[in-house]
Symmetry: C2
Subunit: 390 residues, 2 copies
């Protein structure tokens, strides 16, 4: 956690919890290292607005005197702002290998800020938060969310820390799109961009998969049109959605190596007659069980839809024209050969588009077999690539 | 329909319908060209047995005097025996382009038999059929189904037609596995094998997808543990399962060309807030709507699981050893580059294994972009390949 001095608008979750003002339900709060920024007044969104929303974030390292060593990190769809451990929260973060002293993003040199996405449920205001104007959770009355809104929520944090220029903006998967949105909306605010396993827009295959994940949730009677009691999630739909996610976040090749046709315990009666006979089925079940209860269903729906809706072409008519708005000193685009959600050709498209206006654009293609999620797993391949960028 | 003379055990559905003996529910019957074979007495299965089951099939062309021009065709998971039109049933069949006079499988030369899979719901006995011993539908009391059982049900038809040797056994997808099972169980009974977009066993990725399709059905409260009233299907689960199927039966590349990011009508309220904004979503919805109500959910579950369970290795300890049991004069293995369910390397494995014991094995790889379902769609590429085989 950076010692960045007192800020009138920002406080620790621990303090905030006492006040209980943010109205987040039990189990849906940020970790002990998170800070909460309350945006005062109206926060305009692309398709609506919020009043006094919270933005949760964590930081590592220290902002230097020139305030020019900040790295802004946007997350994928489901992680919190807890990207790495710290004294205040020693639990390993979702990018633990990447952020810290002597790590690829070296916190002895850089001040790293990771933002919990607007619309998520780990401290930032989202559909599971209480609408201060009504006293009830937003649920489906939350405005339609776009990744531009998520990017602008990140900007609020940057401004609150009195940072005028970022050393780098970083994101993978949805976070890469958000980082792109940030650079489109605020040209020149970041000196560099690191965009991993992301894209200028979603392809129909990825849209279809996410659409089906959302349909699984909305088809669950327990979803109740979004009005499920908080804490009584539509777990059946969430389980299906998460399993489908796992199937597409990884790669067929990895699973061939990993599971082959190993069978686990013989299934018994009822629905399980058709389930959990193979190791791969048990693996999905275990992963889904961990996810259920940790993520709010409506938040998931909003963020998932935001990924579908994002399109650089909305910023200029075509992807090519949109990317021309960007002002950066350099960019690194990283893709993975086995990624089926954001395939390599999308990284090539992004790198080519950036080359129109950015003089130093590199494209790195990694042969990881873990598919889209490789940036979370194949650290031996990702560490040197990210390290070189920083 | 072949004029193959009267058979004591076989009659038209029209006659059978009057008798009403097979107990199939409304809407789950074979077409007017289908014949029904009643297997008398006990039909042994790998993991159980059936009493007096029906096997539905259709035929085209005529059996020659030597009775050596018969082609046995097994289907994919969901089609009926209606592979092609005929005088009795002029509706186009699922392989209409392939079967008929002057078509690749020329019915002026060959007598073609297409069998509705045991366990399906288009005339053959399956979980939706009435168990003659109880008077109630089998539902989940139907014995565990394997593709070996489906193959043996095909053998019953072959025997009832007094055919001692087949000119060829043909199948695509699940039908290809069934054709393989047939050749494994009855070496030499078929002179040749045409196996399309199939495999010696399923890979974890394909198992995971089918497992999720089944879970979507079993998670639907309307499934009622398999006890849903016939005609009141778990349509929500079936819709999800079908959409997931469509996503994996086709290819990402095809959809890029076909849909891009076209949006259809703007979605409205409720669950549809998160659905049907893109053309690809509307396309899936339309396909799912056609499927729902035409296929019984329990039958789907049984057949889907049978595909997962099939493994040539069960016939000899390893795939290689299993394939050595096969006796054929020649085989053609056809695969499609964009197939993610049964990828090309599986066709290579199959062809290599067959080459151990079959002198004339060819492997054809097609660059179709329609993925696993190409054999149903990309007829310009498939017609010449199948035609050359015949």
């Amino acid at each position: 956690m950076g010692k960045i001095g007192a800020m009138a608008e920002s406080w620790h979750v621990a303090e905030d919890k006492e006040e209980g003002r943010e109205g987040r339900p039990p189990g849906f709060r940020a970790g002990p290292a998170a800070r909460l920024l309350r945006v005062k007044g109206v926060f305009p969104m692309l398709k609506g607005e919020l009043h006094n929303p919270f933005i949760a974030y964590e930081t590592w390292g220290e902002l230097n005197a020139a305030r020019d060593n900040a790295v802004l990190l946007f997350t994928g769809l489901s992680p919190s702002a807890h990207a790495a451990s710290s004294v205040e929260d020693p639990r390993p973060g979702w990018w633990e290998d990447m952020i810290g002293p002597d790590k690829p993003i070296d916190t002895r040199r850089y001040f790293v800020i990771c933002v919990n996405s607007l619309g998520s449920c780990f401290g930032s205001t989202g559909p599971a938060s209480v609408n201060p104007n009504t006293g009830n959770p937003y649920r489906l009355s939350f405005p339609r969310l776009t990744l531009e809104d998520v990017a602008n929520a990140g900007l609020e944090v940057v401004r609150s820390l009195r940072i005028e220029r970022l050393f780098a903006t970083v994101g993978a998967s949805m976070g890469g799109m958000t980082a792109l949105a940030f650079c489109l909306l605020h040209p020149g605010l970041s000196r560099s961009l690191l965009c991993i396993s992301s894209a200028t827009h979603s392809l129909p295959f990825a849209i279809a998969l996410r659409s089906l994940q959302r349909e699984a949730i909305c088809s669950d009677p327990a979803w109740q049109g979004g009005a499920y009691p908080l804490g009584r999630e539509p777990v059946t739909g969430m389980r299906l959605a998460r399993k489908l996610g796992m199937i597409t976040y990884r790669s067929a090749g990895e699973w061939d190596v990993r599971f082959g046709r190993e069978r686990s315990a013989e299934p018994r009666g009822g629905g399980s007659l058709f389930q959990v006979g193979f190791e791969v089925e048990s693996y999905l079940e275990a992963h889904a069980e961990r996810f259920i209860g940790s993520f709010d269903a409506n938040c998931y729906l909003y963020l998932s839809r935001a990924v579908d809706l994002f399109d650089v072409a909305d910023h200029g008519g075509t992807v090519e024209k949109g990317l021309r708005r960007i002002v950066l000193e350099r960019a690194l685009v990283v893709g993975v050969e086995s990624d089926v959600l954001f395939p390599l050709r999308q990284q090539e498209e992004l790198a080519d588009g950036l080359r129109q206006v950015v003089s130093d654009v590199r494209l790195t293609s990694l042969p990881s077999i873990q598919g889209h999620d490789s940036f979370l797993i194949d650290m031996d391949r990702f560490r040197p690539v990210v390290g070189e960028f920083f």
